[in-house]
């Protein structure tokens, strides 16, 4: 991994410096995203949401936006620690709960996770992490019924593009309010909403095992990968053009490879077409058509 070569303020295509191009107008983002949450939930004749609160910035931002959109009383947050989860995660989640006055639950996943882990003694961390993510999804969907609210997604654009998620785990949600914000932009918006500093400044982590950090596991920083993804996806640069912007070839190629091989996580499973009109092919209605 290498840092990008610094660009001048006026790049050859007349656009602002690359790092500045990820800047967003946070007031507009806040308005559009709280409106989206209200709209999606009221369209299905509900007024509540439930979300998993990890202590990290993505779920904190989702909680703040949800509370603003729906009223704090309507947002149930669930902490679902495993025995190795860091104490900071729980206390940071507590800060969000206290700051917003949210109804909350804590459901330990250790007994259910260990019951399954114990049957496969040589289980890898990846398998364990996936199981934990899916147990959390199971708990949230159960609370969705008990609480009468939709399961709020907390995934950002960076991890969705990289496929840095567990299919039917953290990706198993009813709506994605921050799914079009890169991690850098999640941080920018979060900073304007009064999210506690300890959450804003700590290293992002899925906290699936002790000492895990996203950037350690991925092998690059969000600051760098967001710029590369922005060029590839939003600006439709080719891989070669991104390299010309000063990013290392192996890094850019690895990022684009991850985006492609994980596309299945962002789409519904294919249906084998037989009839004249087939779900997913030519039976076309918006999800919002209710």
């Amino acid at each position: 991994m290498t840092a990008p070569i610094p660009l001048s303020n006026s790049s050859p295509n007349g656009k602002p410096d690359l790092s500045e191009r990820l800047n967003i107008n946070t007031e507009i983002a806040r308005k559009m995203l709280t409106g989206f949450i209200q709209d999606e939930i009221s369209k299905v004749r509900m007024k509540r949401a439930v979300l998993g609160l990890s202590g990290g910035i993505d779920s904190a931002l989702s909680a703040y936006l949800s509370a603003e959109a729906l009223g704090a009383d309507n947002v149930l947050v669930v902490r679902m620690p495993y025995k190795t989860s860091s104490a900071d995660s729980l206390s940071d989640a507590e800060k969000v709960i206290d700051a917003l006055g949210l109804p909350s639950l804590t459901v330990e996943i250790t007994p259910m996770a260990d019951a399954l882990f114990g049957q496969f003694p040589d289980m890898t961390n990846t398998r364990k992490g996936n199981i934990m993510a899916r147990l959390r999804m199971t708990i949230l969907y159960d609370q969705s019924v008990a609480w009468g609210g939709l399961v709020m997604g907390t995934s950002n654009k960076t991890e969705m593009l990289l496929g840095y998620s567990t299919i039917y785990g953290d990706s198993g949600v009813a709506l994605h309010p921050i799914g079009d914000l890169y991690k850098t932009q999640v941080r920018q918006l979060s900073a304007t909403l009064g999210i506690p500093d300890s959450i804003l400044t700590k290293a992002p982590s899925a906290d699936l095992w002790t000492g895990q950090t996203d950037e350690g596991e991925l092998g690059f920083t969000y600051a760098d990968v967001d710029q590369v993804l922005y060029l590839l996806v939003d600006e439709r640069y080719t891989v070669e053009e991104v390299i010309e912007e000063g990013f290392a070839r192996p890094f850019v190629e690895d990022v684009w490879r991850r985006v492609k091989i994980n596309h299945y996580k962002r789409t519904m499973p294919n249906i084998a077409k037989l009839s004249r009109r087939t779900i997913g092919h030519d039976f076309l209605y918006l999800r919002d058509y209710v």
């Binding site: 800047n23 107008n25 507009i28 308005k31 709209d39 999606e40 076309l284 058509y289």
Partner: protein
């Protein structure tokens, strides 16, 4: 001559024509109460935007025999209306359409010419494309109507101008996009820039109504606006919220601006015609 224009910046309910008709009638009542002479609704105001396979269910044959149109025609005796709908023609082709209603009559129907089918747009899958660009006379002078992508191309607005339209009536369902560090979405900036360019270069009024609300995660930004013949925005900037915007405009500004700046007088459509003919013939020959 002064004219009070209303822009019904509404959130249509997807594929629920009855609910949307009620909303139209509600806005009409409010507009009448504020002395509005001409009330403009957004693109597909009676159906919502992404109707997809619901097109045949929401389509309307635009006449007094249609119960929805009958109510709107009745209302058009009180003020002039521009509404958006799915038009089903005699041969059962479907169009994204705008209707101008006045005095209980359908005065003009425009079929959307340019159907965006790229990126997030998929209109050509569901709709046939319009084949005519025509200005028409109203009690406020000669006007022309365009729908969204129609005015992303400059030729339809240019043709309406040459066909005598002093007021361009634009309706759209323009999805929000291009969030950056600027004071507006880059998509909004672009449309406002283009509308100001039309006002400036045609020395015309440009009246634009864009919808608000959400469909499957797409937001619509509103920001309905009016540009005067000097290219100034008389009204703009109410983004995202459902609202009725009302603005009185002075049609005498047309003669004042054109006295100062005779762009219409000096325009040379015959030259355009000759050069277009040459360009098209060259293309045919190559």
């Amino acid at each position: 001559m002064r004219l009070t224009v209303g822009l019904a910046q509404i959130y249509p309910k997807l594929a629920d024509v009855r609910a949307n008709l009620d909303k139209h009638l509600d806005y009409i009542e409010r507009a009448v109460a504020q002395g509005v002479d001409l009330l403009v609704f957004p693109e597909l105001s009676l159906t919502g935007y992404q109707v997809q396979d619901l097109v045949p269910e929401v389509a309307i044959r635009a006449s007094a025999s249609d119960p929805t149109f009958a109510r709107l025609l009745d209302a058009s005796r009180r003020l002039d209306l521009m509404v958006g709908f799915v038009h089903q023609d005699q041969r059962n082709r479907f169009y994204i359409a705008a209707a101008y209603l006045s005095g209980g009559e359908v005065q003009h129907i425009h079929h959307k010419i340019y159907l965006p089918t790229y990126g997030m747009f998929d209109e050509s899958r569901y709709f046939d494309q319009g084949e005519q660009i025509r200005a028409f006379d109203t009690r406020f002078g000669r006007v022309g109507m365009l729908i969204c992508e129609d005015f992303w191309h400059m030729s339809p607005a240019y043709l309406l101008w040459l066909d005598g339209a002093d007021m361009l009536l634009f309706q759209s369902s323009s999805p929000s996009r291009g969030l950056d560090g600027g004071d507006r979405l880059s998509g909004s900036r672009w449309v406002e820039l283009v509308n100001q360019a039309y006002g400036s270069m045609f020395t015309n009024y440009v009246i634009h109504c864009n919808r608000v609300g959400y469909e499957d995660g797409k937001n619509f930004w509103g920001g309905s606006s009016i540009v005067n013949p000097d290219g100034d925005l008389l009204l703009h900037g109410t983004y995202f919220d459902e609202t009725l915007l009302v603005q009185t405009i002075d049609l005498n500004q047309l003669h004042r601006t054109r006295s100062r700046l005779p762009l219409l007088r000096d325009e040379r459509p015959e030259l355009v015609y000759r050069e277009l003919d040459r360009i098209l013939n060259k293309e045919r020959d190559s």
